[in-house]
Symmetry: C2
Subunit: 329 residues, 2 copies
């Protein structure tokens, strides 16, 4: 394991991003890694405040994550859902008995006036997580998906409709009035910043909501350290979730290059480098033509060592980019 200096920031959504975040957390001690999480797919359900991406990250980092699904808790039971169904309740969003404690406790603390940042820190700490997990904002941002069936709240699209409706666009409701989490601003502007990693999460549903916060694009563009993104698309397929299906429906090419192009078009100047899988080596020249350095390495994370390996590749890539930058000056 390489010894790293400086501080790193990782921007992440749920399952795929959380895998890389776990890898990073195994290399970098808590004081060197801050995780910034999408809250655009947070929602109110059954009177509870549910933060799916925060939960996935918290469960992943605490080894509580269900290894079969990538979300939810291991050794989960479903007595609550069965009883709710019997009572005629809404059962399209699965809430395990153990998982439910997270939502009930979060909701209670939020209603008591704590910020989502404070609540997240407290719940992560209760599960012995020592790395800092920061919600992108303490204000509500709600990702909505425009589809052939009309606008849908993200979880309605994602879980209830199982991503079936064809996507025509996105809206990050509330984003323009939301404030970036001040702790995120601080973490980006820290003197020892050594790099920022955009995890292999869905660009439209997990990363764009973060970038939609006023000032976020400029903050990342002006960061004193390089910014890289890891492609969530490998060999023309998404490892997990609807990324590729969305790209097809949005008439985008379904490739790693198209993800790079999306970030370059919507957030020019943010990225310094892009990480692609060896399967996508043929995309390298095309992405380099976008003025991005390219790292080619295994990006499919099945085992824990895959996660750590990709994390190490990311940190080495950032180190290379820092050196190149210094040589240029």
């Amino acid at each position: 394991m390489s010894t790293q200096h400086g501080r790193y920031l990782a921007l992440t959504g749920g399952v795929g991003g959380a895998k890389l975040a776990l890898g990073l957390s195994k290399i970098l001690p808590p004081e060197q890694l801050t995780l910034v999480v999408n809250t655009g797919d947070d929602f109110e359900h059954l009177g509870l405040h549910i933060s799916p991406d925060i939960d996935t990250l918290v469960y992943t980092l605490s080894s509580e994550c269900n290894p079969e699904t990538g979300w939810g808790r291991r050794n989960e039971t479903w007595q609550f859902m069965q009883a709710l169904k019997q009572l005629g309740g809404e059962t399209w969003f699965n809430l395990g008995d153990r998982d439910l404690a997270m939502h009930v406790q979060r909701t209670r603390l939020l209603r008591g006036g704590e910020t989502l940042t404070g609540v997240t820190a407290r719940l992560a700490s209760a599960l012995d997580i020592r790395h800092t997990i920061l919600p992108m904002s303490d204000d509500a941002v709600r990702t909505r998906v425009n589809t052939a069936d009309g606008w849908l709240d993200f979880q309605h699209y994602f879980v209830r409709e199982q991503c079936a409706p064809a996507v025509t666009g996105f809206e990050y409701r509330g984003a323009s009035a939301a404030q970036i989490n001040p702790a995120v601003v601080k973490a980006v502007r820290v003197e020892q910043l050594a790099g920022i990693i955009i995890c292999p999460s869905n660009p439209f549903a997990s990363i764009d909501p973060i970038l939609a916060l006023p000032g976020m694009r400029a903050l990342l563009r002006d960061a004193s350290a390089p910014v890289i993104a890891v492609s969530p698309v490998v060999g023309g397929a998404a490892i997990k979730g609807p990324t590729v299906k969305m790209m097809r429906e949005l008439s985008l090419p379904q490739s790693a290059s198209a993800v790079a192009a999306h970030y370059q078009a919507h957030t020019p100047g943010m990225l310094d480098g892009f990480v692609i899988d060896r399967l996508d080596r043929h995309c390298q020249a095309e992405i380099e033509d976008m003025n991005l350095a390219v790292q080619v390495c295994p990006t499919v994370m099945q085992s824990l060592s895959d996660r750590i390996c990709l994390a190490e590749h990311c940190l080495e890539f950032l180190q290379d980019l820092r050196r190149t930058d210094q040589a240029r000056r």
Copy 2:
């Protein structure tokens, strides 16, 4: 099983009262029996609206009740509570995984604007209960207990402190501004009314909150059919709960007679008869001296047939009282 005519009303709290209510429901078809439930020990906990007495009655009538405790659901699991404890949540009030569905669904429906009466009907119906269960009021009444340690919310006294503090008095907060459930008024004033039964529930914590509603005492006193109460005290002990401990702390004799005296003193003219156990036969004369008819029968309900047997004794007693009343006219 005797064939009964007319309509009956039973006023009840939790465990003890629910047992008799179950017995009554086995004799009387839904159109002949209405159950009026105490909501004075309802409370908000973990952001959920919990109605302990309604739940106990609903679970009892639907055969969902945990036979070991008398409250909560059978085949219950406790994954949620364990996870909540791990997250640093409040765990003094036990909420089973299956029971939780009831609180979540009720809370959600109440927040959506439904009345507690409407929600209760809907949830009871989902569990195939055909008898009508009416909360005493759709307005909030909160029983508070004055103790040597100061005022406590009822569940704090009852569950968190396990009834340890010595009781000096009670308050039914909100009662004076609460409206009797209009469906209760209607059920009492119905032409076919054949009798009203006050179940063997705690007089202070389960029945007095119902009687504290403005107009309730007059409504029951002026009912066109006899009103009887079943003593929750048998042989100087309470079958369940803190009734006798409370009586001692309030410097009342710990006897069936003292329960009758309590009702006669605080709600004069309401009761026509009083049901005591055979163990308390020695109290009969004393209670008759209070101008009450007395029925002596087995009142301890262990089996289902005990519950049905006591219910039959109650209905026969009411029939006798109706005959006596007619003979007098």
